[in-house]
Symmetry: D2
Subunit: 461 residues, 4 copies
């Protein structure tokens, strides 16, 4: 799309944070690749001494005009041929011999693909920093609210109790998984692209692989076994990992938006003056971060579909499919970065109303505990029969608007069965307390926190 980045009309919404996929960033990344290639050529003895430094010296984005390069790109289908000419032209006269080092052995796709990998590596650093912060906030919430009971909800109905710490532990676990996958892709699947016209590095004779290795060293990127001009699995894995991160954040944002509903009101976003204000309604306190995160994450699957569709690439270099990757990949990296930045903010400042959580749960008059009563009776009756029996009390509780405990003892058959099964009224009352029916909640929180420490140790060193 044509709207500008961070400084533009939509930039503070959709290009928040440290990921930079702007035109200037793309241009610099392409120049970085050309400069590294010139240094590699010199090191391989394919260009005069000093060539690498000379090219590197002029490979600065501020010396070039994006508009000029862009206009020239229309003639060749990509901006690299014009960039190569302009870069060569900018070499100082004293370093004219360095022209031999420029673009040595390369094809346009080598430059653009490798630049994309550099940009991805830089973007992943920024994304991982924000996700690390978001995860830490979740961990903190999980620990702080480990015992704060609230309604567990399934199919948007109150089900059985959980705690808010358990909810936050679930968010934490998903972010940590996304971090691990992004890290795996970042460390094993980003790679130099260097194959020349048809992937054989023919113009370098037998020196191709050596130059490729030097190029990788210069860039700090791994060198793959083969050029991957029309093997796009790296792009698919990268895009899938980014979409996975978006998915984890979208789930959290959805939960926050639901928990912040007027009628639920268990969490709300931190309020800065003017934050979340409506253009007309003075009382509105919109969950702006959650909503904006969803506005990002809902775009990821379509972009992933475009990038995976594009992998059907012809022969040695594709006619259109490759070119169709540039915009969705740029957008997906930007969106994931921006969503991560929003999420770090959201989670750091999330306000939790634990009394309201308990209150919402208790408003259901014990119904979310019905399964617990079933569990008490199951050993004696079998689960299905116990379920049918308790269902009667539940219906009465709903119809006659009475607490479940009262409804249970208003049902003579059920009351008798409980007595026969040796379950006392005190035990029933205890069973109807949420704290008594949390199962493995503490254990799961412990595990999520332990896993988080392990991920932090592995990723943040």
């Amino acid at each position: 799309m044509t709207s500008s980045g961070p400084g533009g009309l939509w930039g503070a919404l959709f290009a928040r944070g440290a990921v930079d996929m702007s035109d200037a960033a793309w241009l610099q990344a392409m120049l970085d690749v050309e400069a590294a290639l010139a240094r590699a050529a010199e090191r391989a003895g394919l260009a005069p001494a000093g060539s690498g430094a000379a090219v590197t010296g002029v490979a600065r984005a501020e010396l070039f005009d994006n508009g000029t390069l862009g206009a020239a790109a229309a003639a060749t289908g990509n901006p690299v041929p014009a960039l190569v000419r302009e870069l060569t032209r900018r070499l100082p006269e004293s370093a004219a011999g360095a022209a031999a080092a420029v673009h040595t052995g390369a094809t346009s796709q080598d430059i653009i693909d490798t630049a994309a990998m550099l940009l991805a590596a830089r973007a992943l650093d920024a994304i991982l920093a924000d996700l690390s912060s978001a995860a830490d906030s979740c961990a903190s919430q999980a620990a702080t609210h480990a015992e704060a009971v609230m309604a567990g909800r399934t199919l948007l109905q109150q089900a059985v109790p959980v705690t808010f710490g358990f909810v936050a532990a679930g968010w934490l676990n998903a972010i940590d998984e996304a971090r691990q996958e992004l890290t795996r892709v970042g460390s094993t699947r980003l790679a130099v692209q260097f194959g020349g016209a048809a992937g054989t590095l023919a113009s370098l004779g037998e020196r191709g692989p050596e130059v490729a290795t030097l190029l990788g060293t210069e860039l700090g990127l791994p060198v793959p076994a083969l050029p991957w001009h029309t093997n796009r699995l790296r792009i698919i894995e990268l895009a899938a990992a980014l979409t996975g991160a978006c998915a984890a954040l979208g789930k959290i944002a959805r939960d926050v938006a639901l928990l912040a509903q007027t009628e639920v009101a268990e969490v709300r976003e931190a309020t800065a003056p003017g934050r979340g204000a409506s253009s007309t309604m003075p009382h509105k306190q919109n969950p702006v971060a959650a909503v904006t995160i969803l506005a990002h994450t809902k775009q990821a699957p379509g972009l992933l579909a475009t990038l995976t569709s594009a992998a059907e690439q012809e022969h040695q270099r594709a006619a259109g499919a490759w070119h169709s990757e540039w915009q969705p990949l740029t957008h997906l990296l930007t969106l994931t970065g921006s969503a991560s930045s929003w999420s770090a903010d959201l989670l750091q400042n999330l306000q939790v109303d634990t009394p309201r959580m308990r209150q919402n749960l208790e408003a259901a008059g014990g119904l979310p505990m019905a399964e617990h009563i079933t569990a008490l009776l199951s050993p004696a009756l079998g689960r299905l029969q116990a379920n049918d029996l308790v269902m009667g009390a539940v219906r009465r509780s709903t119809t006659d608007d009475m607490d479940l405990a009262d409804a249970i003892y208003a049902d003579e058959r059920l009351a008798a069965t409980l007595t026969e099964a040796g379950v006392s009224r005190a035990e029933v009352d205890a069973a109807l307390r949420p704290e008594s029916y949390l199962g493995a909640t503490p254990e799961f929180i412990r595990r999520a926190l332990a896993a988080h420490r392990a991920v932090n140790a592995a990723l943040n060193g």
Copy 2:
């Protein structure tokens, strides 16, 4: 994505032509809506005389700073609240009363949705102009090359003969269908959005519908029966029509890229100096326009998926899904406009090598005419048996590298059957001439041209 528009690094590739969805265009469209609303409020007697003109006078994008508005958007989730404040602040002191007219009755979504409709209307004009040109070029090719035989190809194999005029007629027909659908959507499905906070126009009391009507008049947009804040079928139909246009263009570009293959060489793109050049291979003449069109059209389905997914919108205004529409809609309009512009260029300058077309067809030694021999025999033998018999000759033709005619008469049983069926060698030879097996080709070309004239008359007035 964050790359800039027409003047940027990728703009000449992906934002070609007259569609303008830049930040500046968005801002001006929002200001146009606010100005029209102020005039409508004045006409409805809800604001002092002169309010409309006063607001209109300051509703000029160049007076505002996108970056400032964008930054403020982060607090409220969209740029409208800041825009309203800034717009009001810019009113001259002499027209302070005009403040009452600003944003009267509206909510942010009213402004953004209506601005999107204005932008879409403007974009459709530009797209339709380019598609009209592209269609005219196809019509010209269809007429010029109506009788230029070439191989019809199915599953990428030569099948039976067609003519290039027939191929161009098929392209023409698809573009004309896309034009009609875009025109239908443009004239019946774009509409004012005006509903206020929850779609009831409550802050206008009973005057809401009247103001809505005046707003529609001011903007030249239809007023819908109901606000459509969370009924996004208009967006879906618009996006589907745009994607349909992309699909028609993508099919043409695919055909051109295939026909331009080195081994086929039946068409090539017009050559300007440097156009289609490779960064390394002096002999390459890449089909740049076709490839670039495909780079656009392959992005449309994913954007359409995002926009249709986004239609699941909650209650009276959505929490994220609506916000997720802005970028893909902006991008889809831009891409369709750019692809249309590229296509007008491609088709106007396409060079057709009709001798090569015939040569490629003849190189197959009559095989693409095999079906015709089957057809000659079918009345006597039945289609299936005729097919089996001819298949033998075809196999021989392939194995022994002989022309199909020779292979037919080298097969005694087939030769005898032909004689029995009263088919002479001369008739067989005639049947093996491509011109003799074009069926309804001329009629289909005539129809496509007639339909094109009708579409032009209806659309271009």
Copy 3:
């Protein structure tokens, strides 16, 4: 996918209602096309008298074995060649001459595409019947509950009041728009496919167009200007209209699921014994229909993306893209039918708790009416200043847990301003009643109902 249809494990969930896209239905539709073609050939004098009847007599799915045909399909890439052989073989000896009529002039794609159109036409009838019922239920709810106030909700927060009739009118309007679009596509974009090997109908000489016309008459389908083997805009428009219908239904289902939340409880699905039951929790009453509808509608965008991607088809018949349409089109028609059937059921039986609606609105202590107070003050202060002033009272109302009315008069400056503006306490109290702030709600309901009557008249005759 490989799970079976209506009678299978998932069929009652995902293949509900009258749309039948089963293997048997596909087979019968292909046979219907072949039979119609045989009758057309006879009428055109291309086959002996009686051929049409003879072929029609054996063109019954129950005479064929799907498995056998399917196995043969693997050799040719589609089941038609085997079907043609088997169909011919089944002709009675007395009608051996009818073999000449079978598959006359056709290619496999003609049969499959036309069969798909027949199936789509049949599916649209079923879908439209269910959508008509669903719309009628919405209309009934809109009329019945026109004045039942409830919270309008934006970004999942209570905003300003609406009525449930208004909500239902919005649902109605979207379904009616979807019905109109499906009807438009059904009546103008379904069409015979008949072009032979490369779209020229060459094997019929000059008789092709005539046979095509007769075929259209036999099938009750329009005959297009040109064959559309590689112009897939019809498929795109059909798929987009189906996805649009799914979008309208998904929005309704989302609203129902949200309104049925334990904490909101404003609607619930009708309860049949066991309906909505959990496998373990006796108290759960899951909104099964709403959830299941969403399970359908969320699949539509991805299928639409596949079908639009597939429109980039090579030359005269595509190598894979066409074949990739069969499954997603089958699935999309099935899902839309099933979602429509579920929705008709959901809406007919939806239980609405209007007292609870008012209670939820009142629980907000007047806050959703804050905009109304702003509107009272705007003429005197300007909208922005009024908003700021009311915001103070809103904050106090929230912080000190007092009704908005009390908070307003606890704010001396605001109280004074109201007095100055000539707004009495009684007027403020009145302004805080939801009924006083419904704006154009009644008008919008009237319009939706009037539009519905018009659509019914146009569509249901």
Copy 4:
């Protein structure tokens, strides 16, 4: 969709091979999970001795009726509640106590998700076996044809020479990467789902984690740190890996279809009688496997988009998004299996015409070698100037239809420059031989084969 599996009309096309995702397979997988859970419950002492065996004894799909279960699923939104009742009912009277073991602690989602994981594990085995075979065939082609020169093609134009072994090595490398990713996901991301009603395993008190561990042991599936009811990253990674495999196969199929074009004819699919036949054209030899593979692989991105969209899941169990996964996951596993089976067949039987490859390359009159001449001159002139000079000869070669060598020496300036640079005519002639310009081709083939051996060793043991 509702078409049946292997035995149905489309099954031999789209459900080829050993992956079984039929209704029966789903049912058995769910029963396998219930049986394993019963055994785990017994081992944990939560059910009488013999319970596990008793449940396992009746947990056989053939004892149940899919239609009955399916019909019951409509009431609850999934088939598990009915399955639990039916399974319990089928316990022999002698093992009535085993009822306590059935579905212990579980919720419906536990059963369906874990069954999906079992099915995925089984499917991955089948897919990996076919991909292993496909990769071995590529390796064999890469070794056999390592030196068979052919045109490398970029943007569908002949570029510089490659060898067919190099092309096959590229295919091999992509399949091997896909195998590694599928193996990684299969061994680290499939996992038991076991959390009970809201993920806390509350009904098992403190015994939940212990039962989960036993369940994992019984099923041979890892036990995750936390239940993942609404953390769907496992599904996303699985779906992405499957889509990646499809992408690798789609690229190969596209190449085969292009290389098999009538005008290129460098490869063809093995011919069995009737294979690739047209319904009307006796001479057609369609690349059925390649086309059918593309028909599969083009469906994957849309399904992946649906599955990633579905990851935005509410609270502790989702209202629709989870349910929307079942069909696309079933379909994606089926399609990937079927595409893998087709590909193993395609690659094992691919016929390669190496003389035609050389002939197509030579038909270009040396043009694909132009870059090599540039390379010879670059040291003396610089790359850009050398390119410009050679471009002149290339143009002459094209315009005057002469071999590039002749055109070079017909250009006096170029001839002189070559002489000055010390390049003899013999060296030019040598430089125009394809074998002289293959660069790292042999090295890249070696690497691909070495990597393949390593992957085979790691994966196939």
